[in-house]
Symmetry: C2
Subunit: 335 residues, 2 copies
């Protein structure tokens, strides 16, 4: 079933049928005749042929590090809700945390002639810079700040500082830190800086030995908590760069008889459901992941609609601290 057959059935030319689908000039009669045939046959234009001609395919490429992550899933959910409402489809590529694949998929999406790419980034390498310069199509980075592309990111430093500040207010004297690689600018570097800034602001000197870096997992949180807390002389609070890490650290405390928050306060970032149901509920900062996906999609749409050169715009989303039991120690309220 193609446009020629439809044209014949409706007794018009191919061009008329094309115009019917592309809001071109068309007399009411022809419009009706075509409509009738289209409905009878269930015909819809071949998307590939359209793309070949117009170089627009109503597809947006999405590059993510993994799907089975609370935060990423929320981001993609936000993206997909906005984009599909506007008639775009998502071409999803999953890099499984392999930076080399990120570059590969970016390239691949370009060859697929997607109209734009939304990239949930973690770490930028020179390879990334190179290809991002040469995409020649709208790119929106989500979750990280990156000059040269539009991006939507979170106030990671502010959130980390606020949560750490809360711990300090609640009487934490010696805060420790469990984070991720600082090559991850947002979750690694910025949150660490926020932690340090809050400590400094409170006049607390953080010891090098009270800080650790691991992976984004509960297991890693458990392990690093062991390293930090398994000594005579240990921190009485742990700020963790993610809720997953924090929940892992709580497991360690639970299994080793360290009461939370009395012996060790714990707090995280992300406001994951995990922290809301955990044995001791977790103080955390909510980051607007779903919103970040939606905003990234909107930024993409506005770029798609614009004519002329690609202009970049950036958006920093706020956070919302929620205190729960893991920092509610009954002493030393400063405020």
């Amino acid at each position: 079933m193609n446009i020629t057959e439809i044209a014949e059935l409706a007794g018009v030319s191919k061009a008329a049928v094309s115009r019917y689908f592309n809001r071109g000039y068309l007399s009411a009669e022809k419009r009706q005749a075509i409509e009738k045939v289209v409905e009878e046959t269930g015909y819809a234009p071949n998307v590939q042929a359209q793309t070949l001609r117009t170089r627009k395919n109503r597809q947006i490429g999405v590059v993510i590090p993994k799907l089975s992550s609370e935060s990423v899933a929320r981001v993609v959910d936000g993206i997909s809700s906005v984009l599909t409402d506007c008639g775009y489809q998502l071409m999803l590529t999953n890099t499984a945390n392999d930076p080399a694949k990120e570059v590969e998929y970016l390239e691949l999406l370009r060859h697929h002639h997607v109209e734009g790419v939304i990239f949930s980034a973690s770490i930028f390498t020179p390879d990334h810079d190179r290809i991002l310069q040469n995409m020649h199509l709208p790119v929106v980075i989500v979750g990280q700040q990156y000059s040269g592309c539009s991006c939507v990111y979170h106030d990671d430093r502010g959130a980390a500082a606020a949560v750490t500040g809360l711990m300090l207010d609640r009487g934490c004297r010696r805060p420790g830190y469990i984070g991720v690689t600082q090559r991850d600018r947002a979750a690694g570097y910025e949150r660490r800086q926020g932690f340090l800034a809050a400590a400094a602001a409170a006049g607390v000197a953080v010891r090098e030995e009270d800080m650790a870096e691991g992976q984004f997992t509960m297991e890693s949180g458990y392990e690093k908590a062991g390293e930090l807390l398994g000594r005579e002389n240990r921190p009485d609070g742990l700020f963790c760069a993610t809720d997953n890490i924090a929940v892992g650290a709580m497991q360690y405390c639970r299994e080793h008889g360290l009461r939370v928050p009395e012996a060790v306060m714990i707090a995280g970032i992300g406001d994951s459901p995990l922290g809301r149901v955990s044995a001791v509920t977790l103080t955390s900062a909510h980051l607007y992941y779903r919103t970040s996906g939606e905003e990234a999609a909107r930024l993409m749409l506005s770029q798609l609609r614009r004519h002329g050169p690609i202009s970049t715009r950036s958006l920093c989303l706020s956070y919302q601290v929620t205190e729960r039991d893991s920092t509610r120690r009954n002493a030393d309220f400063r405020d």
Copy 2:
């Protein structure tokens, strides 16, 4: 940059370049000449044009009800890992739990000439039957059993019966049930049947008033637990169709002074991380979601490779019960 330019640069014909990319006959010299030009220019064939010609686009459509769900995310992760390894891309459509959109997207994917569709289904309507008959391309259903298509599903009834049986063994005398609509054959109907079968097998009569149906959420679990447990005369155990529901029910118990498992046992299905960290850890049956995604992808690949008519094959995955604290009552061990 197109095949003609490459051909000119390499001093060969378009056909030779095409053969270069499609493993056709080609002399070593020409192959080298082309390789050189391709590397210099970074050329890659236009995917749309290839598709238009071959009617194969190396894209697989994926229809899911939502992404921000532990189980669905795991399924999609499994699908994407297998498919991208074989050079396929995913075109992801998110129906936001709207059955009408499922039909719409199935249709849309057909027009996009994807090579196959993997459909994470929940409820089948006559509309579904109609379009599924007329897809004319390989379809794999994941999560539900459906005759007429290949599918990968779980032993929902067996898992529910096993978990319920465990509760009974641990001394539960009056089991209650919180589930979801039975129109969802797998999570609604089958798990309910499993629950009833286990009760019947143990000679326990389940009262109608001890059974409730809600949504797939913690909130719903909380609410329905209130309805079932907020009476004088109440069940001393709740089997929940999903871990989310179970965790919600646990919240209710915690907030209303009902000790788990002493006053009320609770168990679920899915083995979600939530249940592993919750205040009282949750007994549950692990379902192999990620595996189901992988297997669905493999089934798809085998159909894509086959010539001739589409043959359907089905696969039922097993489960694994894990007992945790929510059913560990210190009394009445029967075994």
